[in-house]
């Protein structure tokens, strides 16, 4: 029963969503909108679930005095401060919550990602090698695109790198991406069918397949 009921719930929810696509009746449409509301509500609770594992990791670290446990206090305190202002003083513009977001979260996240600029430059120097025909092709296209995507290349006479770049992205790249997309889409449909039919149970903690 512990596995059968959730499989039945998944089957009913999945089949309803699938079938409603083909039956545009008013009653079905109303139930469809209700089901979407339910999904948003349950989805919201699922997001909060993620906090549980965050707390568990950091509290465990502190309790067992693991290496770097003092940083876990930093995470928990930062969470508490932001959460306090967010819940009790609203999240609207010009609130302390908004101020903390713009002046703490924004610079931290934006800067963390900008570190990648340095690492990609370093990787380009150290690992980007024309070892084979395929690697040379990849490297040449990358260089053309890097040049074609900046306006300075418009100054190169007799060679419209901007247009060549656009062509490379609109024709051969589209072909390759479409090949991948078709494969991924077929896989996604198969997985969705397995979920609805209860053959895929990994999300229920009941083993990978069959």
């Amino acid at each position: 029963m512990r596995l059968q009921i959730p499989i039945a719930i998944g089957f009913v929810a999945g089949m309803f969503m699938f079938v409603q696509f083909f039956i545009p009746h008013q009653m079905i449409k109303a139930s469809f909108e209700d089901a979407l509301d339910w999904a948003i509500i349950i989805g919201a609770f699922a997001l909060v679930l993620g906090l549980g594992s965050l707390f568990r990791t950091h509290i465990d670290k502190i309790r067992h005095r693991r290496e770097g446990f003092s940083y876990s206090f930093v995470t928990l305190i930062s969470f508490a401060v932001m959460f306090f202002f967010g819940i009790f003083y609203k999240t609207a513009p010009h609130t302390t919550f908004d101020w903390l977001f713009m002046n703490v979260q924004v610079p931290l996240e934006a800067t963390m990602f900008s570190l990648l600029a340095f690492f990609i430059a370093s990787a380009a120097y150290r690992t980007f090698r024309a070892r084979s025909v395929e690697a040379t092709l990849l490297l040449s296209v990358a260089i053309i695109v890097m040049l074609g995507r900046v306006p300075i290349s418009d100054k190169i006479p007799y060679l419209n790198l901007h247009e060549i770049t656009e062509w490379l992205m609109m024709v051969p790249t589209v072909a390759a991406k479409r090949g991948i997309l078709l494969g991924v889409a077929l896989g996604a449909v198969a997985t969705s069918l397995r979920i609805i039919l209860g053959l895929e149970r990994s999300h229920l903690g009941g083993g990978g397949g069959g």
Binding site: L36, A44, P93, A121, R149, I152
Partner: protein
């Protein structure tokens, strides 16, 4: 010599990259405007073709990590939308979206004398990705009963006469992740609403397939896309300002790749000879 050059402290590369990005700003050196990509021009034309008062949904599906590329796009698009007297509805399926929307639209709207709730609204965010996108196809106010600040949407003037996607002139999804794919599959294809996207350079390559099929009517690609749009509306912003540093940094990275390869093959040949 090449061996040493190949394996020097990578922090030297870090310093060089930092310098080539900073120096153009300090010297005030600006590269002239470049060519306009057709996908940028198409989005501009699409907005130009809308009647004043038409609602345009500007979707903020990004957070701080996408700001450098997408904020300049959002700024240029907001300027274009509001100055053409179109109604702007800010929505998001990424949690940080509402703050991004507020940060871009509020100051610009004030500058252009547009009133929140009348000319534009920040509807906020709803969890569930494709679920709110699908629900808006049936009823936008049901998905967003209240806006970001908690005001009931059926009392807002800007929402008057809007029920679902049939009442929306254009959706523009600004995204740093794979949200445009969801908007194509769950909004454009089933409800036939016009859709364009502005994406970070990393993601752009995934969306040319939809541009080729006509599922997207326009695409802005990275900071260059933002710079092109700024050029079209005649307003210099962070996209244009960034192009000089971007140009020099690309040249330096290409230089690194070439030197790295020369070094690699020289070292390999000398090793083969000595063996």
């Amino acid at each position: 010599m090449w061996e040493k050059l190949l394996y020097f402290d990578r922090r030297i590369i870090f310093v060089l990259i930092g310098l080539v990005v900073i120096i153009p700003f300090l010297t005030g050196w600006m590269v002239p405007h470049g060519q306009i990509t057709p996908s940028t021009q198409n989005l501009y034309n699409e907005i130009e073709s809308l009647e004043p008062g038409t609602p345009v949904m500007l979707v903020f599906d990004y957070g701080p990590s996408g700001m450098p590329e997408l904020h300049p796009m959002a700024t240029a698009l907001t300027h274009h939308i509001l100055s053409r007297d179109l109604r702007l509805l800010g929505v998001a399926i990424v949690v940080t979206g509402p703050s991004m929307c507020q940060d871009v639209v509020a100051p610009l709207a004030e500058e252009l004398h547009k009133v929140e709730g009348v000319d534009w609204v920040n509807l906020g965010w709803k969890p569930g990705g494709v679920v709110p996108i699908t629900q808006m196809g049936e009823n936008i106010k049901r998905t967003y009963p209240s806006d970001f600040q908690g005001r009931p949407t059926n009392e807002l003037e800007v929402m008057a006469g809007i029920r679902d996607y049939q009442d929306i002139g254009l959706i523009i999804d600004l995204a740093s992740g794979n949200a445009p794919g969801a908007w194509i599959a769950y909004a454009h294809d089933p409800y036939k609403v016009k859709l364009a996207t502005g994406v970070t350079g990393v993601m752009a390559i995934d969306y040319y397939v939809y541009l080729q099929t006509g599922q997207l009517c326009g695409l802005l690609n990275g900071l260059r896309g933002a710079a092109e749009y700024e050029q079209l509306i005649g307003k210099k912003g962070f996209g244009f300002l960034g192009m000089s540093s971007q140009s020099v940094a690309h040249l330096v990275i290409i230089f690194f790749v070439i030197i790295g390869n020369i070094g690699y093959f020289t070292v390999r040949r000398s090793r083969q000879r000595s063996e």
